[in-house]
C-alpha cells in the first residue's frame, strides 16, 4: 500500500468523475441536437429579437386632417413629416380619415379643426384632436406619446420663432438616461441572454439527464461504483461549460453585431452568468429527476423555465405595472435577478447597489435548486 486509503478513495472518485465528464463531452460533441440547442437555437433567437422584433415605433401611419389650411397648419404638418415617427397622409375632411382608421391603414387621426388657426392667435391657445387606435394598446400609447412630442416641439419652435401665443411658461424637458436613443435592442438583447441561458442550461440538462432514463443507460451507471453526486457533477460540468460558451458567443454578437453598449466589466458579467447558469442547471436537473422522460422534461422546462423567464422577468413586459401577486411570483424566477444585472452591466456600468443583492439572490436560488435536485435523485429505479 503506497497511498493511505482515504487518499486512494478520493483518487478513485476523481477518476470516476473524469470518466463521466469525458463521456458527457464526447456525447455532446457527437450529438447534433445538443449543439443545436446550445448554439443554433440561441443565435436564431438573437437574430429574431435583434432584427425582427422591435418595440420602437417608426413610420406609424397617421391621418392628418387639416380642415382649413393656412401657413400655420403647413408648418405644423411639416413637423409631422420631419419627426421620423410618422408616415402621414393628409385629408381635408374627417370622414375619409376616420374610414382609413377603421380600415386599419393608419394607427390614428390628428385633426386640426376649422377653428385651429384662429384659436392659435387667441389667448388660451388652440387644441388639436387626437384619435388613436387602441386595439394594440402598446402602439396606441406610443402614438399618443409621439403626437404629444411633435406638438410640444412645434409649440417650442413657434415660441422661439417669436410667434408668441401659446408658449408654455414652464416646459418639461424630457431626457432619457442610459439609452438615449430609446433603442429597444439595447435592453432586449442583454435580456435575451437570460432567456438563452435558461434554454441551454435548463433544457439541455433536463434532456441529457432524462435521456439516461429513457435509454436505460442510467441502470448501468447506478450499478457501478459511481456515486449519485459524481453522476450529477459529471453531467453539470460539461453543460455548464457549453452554456458559458453560448453566453460568450451571444455577448459578442450583442456587442459587435447589434451595437449594444457594454459599460460594465467583463468579470461581473462572467460571475453573474455563472451564478445564473448554476440556477438554470439546477432547475433542469430537478425537472429531469422528477420527469425521467425526455419529452415530458422538455415540455416542463418550457413551461416552468422558459415561459416565466420570458414573461415575468422584466425582459419585455414591465413588471412594475403588474398586480402585486404577479410581482410576488416573479421573485421566484432567477431570470428576474439576472436581467436586472444584465441591464446594469450593459447599459449603466458596474452599479454595485444593483449587482450585489441580485447576485446574492441568484446564489441562493442556485444553491436551493441544486441541493433539491441532489436530494431528490435516488440511487434506486423507482
Amino acid at each position: 500500500m503506497t497511498a493511505p486509503p482515504a487518499r486512494e478513495a478520493r483518487l478513485a472518485g476523481l477518476r470516476r468523475l473524469r470518466g463521466l465528464m469525458r463521456k458527457e463531452a464526447v456525447q455532446i460533441v457527437r450529438d447534433p441536437s445538443s449543439i443545436i440547442i446550445a448554439f443554433v437555437l440561441p443565435a436564431l433567437l438573437l437574430f429574431l429579437f435583434g432584427f425582427a422584433v422591435t418595440l420602437d415605433a417608426r413610420n406609424l401611419g397617421v391621418a392628418v386632417v387639416v380642415e382649413s389650411p393656412t401657413e400655420e397648419t403647413a408648418s405644423f404638418t411639416a413637423f409631422f413629416q420631419g419627426s421620423g415617427y410618422f408616415a402621414p397622409r393628409f385629408y381635408t375632411e374627417r370622414k375619409p380619415a376616420e374610414a382609413a382608421l377603421l380600415r386599419g391603414e393608419v394607427q390614428g387621426v390628428v385633426v386640426l379643426a376649422q377653428a385651429f388657426p384662429e384659436a392659435l392667435a387667441r389667448e388660451g391657445g388652440a387644441a388639436i384632436q387626437v384619435i388613436a387606435d387602441g386595439t394594440d394598446a402598446n402602439t396606441g400609447n406610443l402614438f399618443l406619446g409621439y403626437v404629444n412630442n411633435v406638438w410640444r416641439d412645434w409649440l417650442a419652435y413657434r415660441a422661439l420663432a417669436g410667434a408668441g401665443g401659446a408658449a408654455e411658461p414652464v416646459r418639461a424637458e424630457p431626457r432619457i438616461w442610459f439609452n438615449p436613443e430609446v433603442e429597444s435592442h439595447h435592453f432586449l438583447v442583454p435580456g435575451l441572454l437570460a432567456i438563452i441561458m435558461t434554454i441551454t442550461g435548463a433544457l439541455l440538462t433536463a434532456l441529457l439527464v432524462a435521456r439516461e432514463y429513457d435509454r436505460g443507460t442510467i441502470e448501468g451507471l447506478l450499478a457501478t461504483r459511481a456515486r449519485i453526486g459524481e453522476i450529477l457533477i459529471g453531467k453539470l460540468v460539461p453543460t455548464f461549460l457549453l452554456g458559458m460558451g453560448g453566453v460568450a458567443v451571444n455577448t459578442a454578437m450583442a456587442v459587435w453585431l447589434f451595437g449594444v453598449p457594454f459599460r460594465g466589466s467583463f468579470w461581473v458579467l462572467a460571475g453573474a452568468s455563472a451564478l445564473f447558469m448554476a440556477a438554470a442547471l439546477g432547475m433542469g436537473l430537478l425537472i429531469s429527476t422528477l420527469a425521467k422522460n425526455q419529452f415530458v422534461a422538455g415540455q416542463v422546462t418550457i413551461m416552468v423555465g422558459f415561459m416565466p423567464a420570458f414573461l415575468l422577468s422584466d425582459f419585455v413586459f414591465n413588471l412594475a405595472g403588474t398586480p402585486g401577486w404577479v410581482q410576488a411570483i416573479s421573485y421566484a424566477i432567477a431570470a428576474r435577478y439576472f436581467i436586472a444585472i444584465l441591464k446594469t452591466v450593459f447599459l449603466a456600468g458596474d452599479v454595485w447597489a444593483v449587482i450585489l443583492p441580485n447576485s446574492l439572490a441568484l446564489f441562493a436560488m442556485a444553491a436551493v435548486l441544486l441541493a433539491l435536485a441532489r436530494a431528490l435523485t435516488r440511487r434506486r429505479l423507482e
Binding site: L20, R30, G220, T224, R379, R380
Partner: protein, 575 residues
Amino acid sequence: MAGGATIELVGLTKRFSGARGGVAALRSVSARIEPGRITGLVGSDGAGKTTLMRVIAGLMAADEGEVRVENAAEVGYMPQSFATYEDLTVADNLALYADLEGVAGAARRARLDELLAFTGLGPFQARLAGRLSGGMRQKLALACALMRPPDALLLDEPSVGVDPLSRRELWEIVSGLAAKGALVLWSTAYLDEAERCAAVLVLHQGRLVYAGPPGSFTGPLAGRTFALYAPAASLRAVQRRAGVQPGIVDAVRRERALRLVVAEGPAPKLADLLAEDERAGAALEPVRPTFEDALVAALRSTAEPSPTPLLAAPAPIADLDRPTARPVEVANLTRRFDSFVAVDSVSFAVERGEIFGLLGPNGAGKSTIFKVLCGLLPPSGGTALIAGIDLSRARAAARERIGYMSQRFSLYGELSVGQNLAFFAGVYGLSGRRKRERIAAVSAEFGLRALEDERAGALPLGHRQRLALAAALLHEPAILFLDEPTSGVDPVTRREFWLRINALAEAGVTVMVSTHFLEEAEYCDRLAILYEGRLIALGSAADLKRAHAPPGTTAPPGIEDAFIALIRAQARAAA
C-alpha cells in the same frame, strides 16, 4: 475463495402502485442461488424477472423480505436492452466503465485487452456502439458488467435481440465464468435456454412456480408425454377437443404429430383420443418430456381456464373472389436504401390457407419484406403481388385484403376495448350495420364482450394480444400479417394464440409471420430463412431440420441448429 458466492432470497414481495390498488410484481419469492453454475430466471414478459434482478442488484427496494448476498465482493449487473451508450465507441464505453469501476494503472490495459479478446470485440473498438449488431452490442454490455471479475453476475435477458449464433457465443462466455466459480443468474423467456441451465427459478405472475434443476421440473411428467401420429384432420380434431377433454393437459402440433401431455393416471389409449373412423394408421408413442411441457402443465394447474372455449369449427372466410391467384407472390424482390441492400432478389409464393414464416435475425430483411407486402414501401426491383394485385399499381385494392398485427399490438391504451374495436373498424372503412355486426362477431369469437369497458392498456398481455388480433380481423382480410406475435408470451397464452391462427388458416386465411423467435417458427407450415437480405433456405421446419442438421448430433436437432448450420455455410461460401 472460501466458498463461492451465494444469494438467498427470503420472502421477497414487491408491489407497484398504480390503477386498481397496484400490481404485485413479486409475491413472497424465496430461493437460494448457488455459485459455479448458471441459474436461469425463467418467465414470460411481466412475470417479474426484471424486478427481481433489480431488487438483487440493489436498484429497487423490496416491500417485504430480504436479499442475503454472501461471499460476493463484486456483483456484476447487466441491465436489459443494451445499456451501453450508442453514441460512444466500443473503446469509449469500456473506458467509461473502467473509470467508474476504478480499474486503473497497469491492470487497466490488461483487463481491457482481456475483455476485448474474450468478447471478440477487438477489431471493432473504434465503432460506435449504436452501429454494432444486437449480438455484438450485448457482448459489449457484458464486457462492461465484467469490468471487475465478478463473484456474482446478474444478466437480465442477455439474449433478447441477439441472433442465434451470437446467442450461443454469449452463452459460452458466461458458461466459462460459471465454470471458474462465479454465481450467474441469467434471466430469459426462451425455454431452450432454460433447459440448458444447471438450475432454474421459474416465475409466473410474480410467483415462484419452480426452483431446482430443469431436469427435475420435467420429472413429474415421466410417462405422461406422447406423440400422436394420425392424418392431419384427426390431429386437428384432437387438438380442438383438448381444451375440454378431461385427461389432456396440453396438445400442440409438432411437424406431423401432435404432442400430448396427459394428466396423471394410466397411459392413454388411442381409443380415448380418436373416434373409431379416425384410428386408421394412427399411432401413439411415448416421448421425452420437455421443459415447455412441464411449464405448461405447471401453469395450467394454477392458471384460470382460458376465458373462451375455442371455436369448434372455423367460420368460412368471405374473401374468396379470386380463387386462382396466389395470395402472396414475390419474384426477385429487391429493396435498397441508398447503397445498402436490405432485400436482395428474394422470391417465394404462398398458398391459400398456408402459415408462412419469414425467419431471420434482426437486420436480415424480414421487416422490409413485410413493409413492401403491406404497401408501406415501394420495391426497388422485382414484383410483389397480393392476391394477384400488383402493389405498385393498386396499393389500396391490395391493402383491403390485408390484416396486420404488429409486435407491440398498436392498440390505444387509453381507449376501452370497445372503443379500440370501433376505431379500427372505422379505419378499415366499415360502417353502419356491417360495422356493428363485425364488432359483435369478433367480440364473441375472441371473448372480448366481458372486457368491453376495460381500458386496453390495463389488460394483461394475453388479452391485449387477443384484442389486437380481433382488430386486425375486423374487415375479414384474406391475408394476415403477424410481426413476432408471441415473442415473450407465456407458453399457455402462445398455444391459445396459435390455435386461433390455425383455425383461421383452416378457414382459408393466409398467414404471414415474421419472427426471429425460433419457437414461433415451429408453428409455421413453411419457412423462408433470411440472412443479410437473401433467402438462404425455404421449406417446412421438419425438412429444414433434417437437411441442415449438424453432423454428429445425436439429440433431435432443433430449428436453431439448422439455422446456425445454414449461416455458417453461408459465411464459408462467402469467405
